[in-house]
């Protein structure tokens, strides 16, 4: 049984704004019957680019319906530029969070909105024009690259949870991995070591280095690492998953985690494990 929040449950059982807006001037459609979920969002944009009305029709699970309902509540009354800034995280947050396997429901909401706005403006969402990588769910390379970049995805599982891409037959896993590496490669180059850092900058850099350089490797072996605290030059971390019980975890900490942080943050860092 999914651990849905009370708000997800409430929006699922009493969805707001079901149907089709009369005189709609923007329509966004995502998903399909064979994929297992789909959303048709209709909006009516009035004066000053204000979204006067928004309604949805959704085929899908409880969290897909709740995400659609939440989306319509969020966008009504907003102007288009502000509405365009709504992310899938915002939708999930509105609902008090979603199980990680259901993030794709909030992504579907965001995509539907984006397409409705593009439709109103007479544009086409460029991500939908990419090359299809995941044939089971019809997800393109541009869509995957964007999610990896914007949502900071580092593993295939995360891509599956966000976009469903790779969640069917699994044939495209190598391609998805290549796209993750492509985006990550681009980002690694951007890491510039500041000469002098404030404590805040240092912590941020340690955090992003853990996310980009260390977590993916550990997660491949079903492990994980969490940053607990940074005090002066000491970085306190907690090992999770298989790392927590691995006899070689101390070697990993020193040879991999500490070495990487010293290379990319500052030379004097010492990594210590918190149990």
């Amino acid at each position: 049984m999914w651990d849905y929040t009370e708000k997800v449950r409430e929006h699922f059982l009493n969805p707001r704004n079901v149907g089709v807006v009369e005189n709609a001037n923007g329509v966004g459609e995502v998903g399909s019957l064979s994929c297992g979920d789909a959303l048709k969002l209709t909006i009516r944009v009035g004066e000053n680019d204000i979204i006067e009305d928004a309604k949805f029709q959704t085929f899908g699970c409880a969290s897909a319906i709740a995400s659609s309902s939440a989306l319509t509540e969020m966008v009504k009354g907003l102007n288009l530029d502000d509405a365009a800034k709504i992310t899938n995280d915002d939708i999930a947050e509105f609902l008090g969070g979603l199980p990680k396997e259901k993030i794709h429901c909030s992504v579907m909401g965001r995509d539907g909105l984006e397409r409705a706005i593009a439709d109103f403006r007479g544009e086409v969402v460029k991500e939908s024009l990419g090359n299809v990588v995941c044939e089971c769910f019809g997800v393109t390379d541009l869509e995957i690259e964007r999610a990896v970049k914007e949502d900071g995805l580092t593993t295939i599982d995360q891509v599956i949870h966000h976009l469903k891409a790779g969640g069917g037959c699994g044939k495209c896993h190598d391609d998805i991995e290549a796209l993750i590496n492509k985006v990550k490669g681009g980002q690694t180059m951007e890491i510039i070591k500041p000469v002098r850092m404030s404590n805040m900058q240092k912590i941020k850099l340690i955090e992003s280095t853990l996310e980009r350089e260390i977590k993916p490797a550990l997660q491949k072996d079903r492990g994980d690492i969490e940053l607990v605290d940074v005090v002066d030059n000491k970085v306190y971390v907690r090992l999770q998953g298989s790392c927590a019980t691995c006899s070689k975890s101390q070697v990993t900490l020193k040879n991999h985690v500490e070495a990487k942080l010293r290379e990319l943050v500052t030379q004097d860092l010492v990594v210590e494990e918190v149990k």
């Binding site: 699922f12 019957l33 409880a62």
Partner: protein
């Protein structure tokens, strides 16, 4: 709110009669059957009785029954035993609709160099017997075919298949987890070499199962260690649960007729009522050879998890072959193998009844589900499209 439990293929309630025999086994008869004192001896006798009771339900001999921890362990043990006993044979035949206990084990064996044939089923869920027989060869070590499918309830002609498999010189195993206790089984007259069953599917607790091994079948243990089960399955016996399984088997024999008359009638009424009141719905699985308690029904243009959660508001417990409930993204492999159309595969619900169910349970489903499907369809973009297309 009253619970209407219609998910008995997932697991069953431990029957009162079963629990009654189980409690003293936990509280008083706590000795280890292997021990050389009176507490040990005291524990040994009910174990022997349980073995007789399980054997009796299957038409087998007590020494042909091996107690295990679950259906999955029984399946793994059977397949492993056949492969170890026939080291030169590298071919396995099974079906496309097996439970993951067999399916995933076979997929793993493929990675280890075995060749596996997955026999397809037709739209009614019936096995392609010609394809099965055509794939038999001298290299075939074991054929494993479930007795009845857990999702569709379709019963496979395993006794007929077993004869052909034996003639071809291979071992025949059946995962009968869903069949035992629901339909009559008599292994004395059959050519079946090994059969798996699970306690919690027939009103015994979780954590106990059994494997029938026909006398004379070459065997190799899966768990190594102590001498329990005559060296065929190491590990201290799950004593109280085995006793419970024994009682559950005699209970199943007592209730077999009721299962196939009263329970079947409830299932039929449920099925007929839903088909009559909900348009664009259909039953999966062929009508004649089906478990008396199982109903797999598809509703077009709606999604299964949403149906389940709305039914849950009425206290109704069922399950779905849809993707969203399991965390996977595709409909179940069984529905896909049966070629259930994509308009309905995501909206498939399985009701599985037991002797605990009443007419009132069925009334509740029949009065609430049509409204649930209607509500979800009003929300579905595809329902509006389909209705518009129909009107044209």
């Amino acid at each position: 709110m009253r619970t209407i439990y219609l998910d008995n293929n997932a697991t069953t309630r431990v029957a009162d009669e079963v629990l009654e025999e189980m409690i003293p086994a936990l509280r008083d008869v706590y000795g280890n059957p292997s021990s050389m004192h009176h507490k040990g001896a005291e524990a040994g006798a009910p174990l022997a009785l349980a073995r007789e009771r399980v054997a009796s339900l299957l038409g087998a001999q007590p020494e042909e029954i091996l107690f295990t921890s679950c259906g999955t362990e029984s399946d793994s043990t059977a397949i492993n035993a056949a492969l170890v006993a026939n080291p030169d044979k590298k071919h396995i035949i099974t079906t496309m609709v097996e439970h993951p206990a067999v399916k995933n084990y076979c997929e793993d064996l493929e990675k280890k160099g075995y060749r596996v044939t997955y026999v397809p089923v037709d739209r009614q869920g019936r096995l392609d017997l010609n394809a099965l027989y055509a794939s038999l060869s001298e290299d075939t070590a074991i054929v494993s075919v479930m007795w009845a499918n857990n999702e569709s309830g379709v019963i496979f002609p395993v006794e007929e298949i077993a004869k052909k498999v034996k003639a071809a010189g291979a071992v025949f195993h059946t995962d009968a987890v869903q069949a035992v206790g629901k339909i009559d089984i008599n292994l004395a007259d059959s050519a079946i070499d090994m059969l798996s069953l699970s306690g919690h599917k027939l009103h015994a607790p979780k954590g106990v199962g059994a494997l029938y091994i026909r006398k004379g079948t070459r065997f190799a243990p899966f768990l190594m260690g102590g001498h329990q089960e005559k060296g065929r399955r190491a590990g201290t016996e799950n004593h109280s649960s085995i006793i419970a399984l024994g009682r559950a088997c005699t209970l199943a024999a007592e209730k077999m007729e009721e299962e196939n008359t009263r329970v079947k009638a409830l299932r039929d009424r449920l099925e007929k009522g839903l088909l009559e009141t909900i348009p664009n719905s259909f039953v999966n699985g062929n009508e004649t050879d089906r478990l008396p308690n199982t109903c797999s029904i598809s509703f077009e243009y709606v999604e299964g998890e949403a149906i389940l959660l709305m039914m849950n508001e009425f206290g109704i417990c069922a399950s779905s072959g849809s993707a969203c409930t399991s965390g996977s993204l595709e409909p179940s492999h069984v529905l896909r193998a049966m070629g259930v159309p994509f308009t309905a595969a995501h909206g498939t619900i399985r009701f599985s009844l037991s002797i605990d169910n009443t007419d009132e349970d069925i009334d509740t489903v029949l009065s609430s589900l049509p409204g649930i499907i209607h509500t979800l369809r009003q929300m579905s973009p595809f329902w509006a499209e389909a209705m518009a297309a129909k009107a044209e």
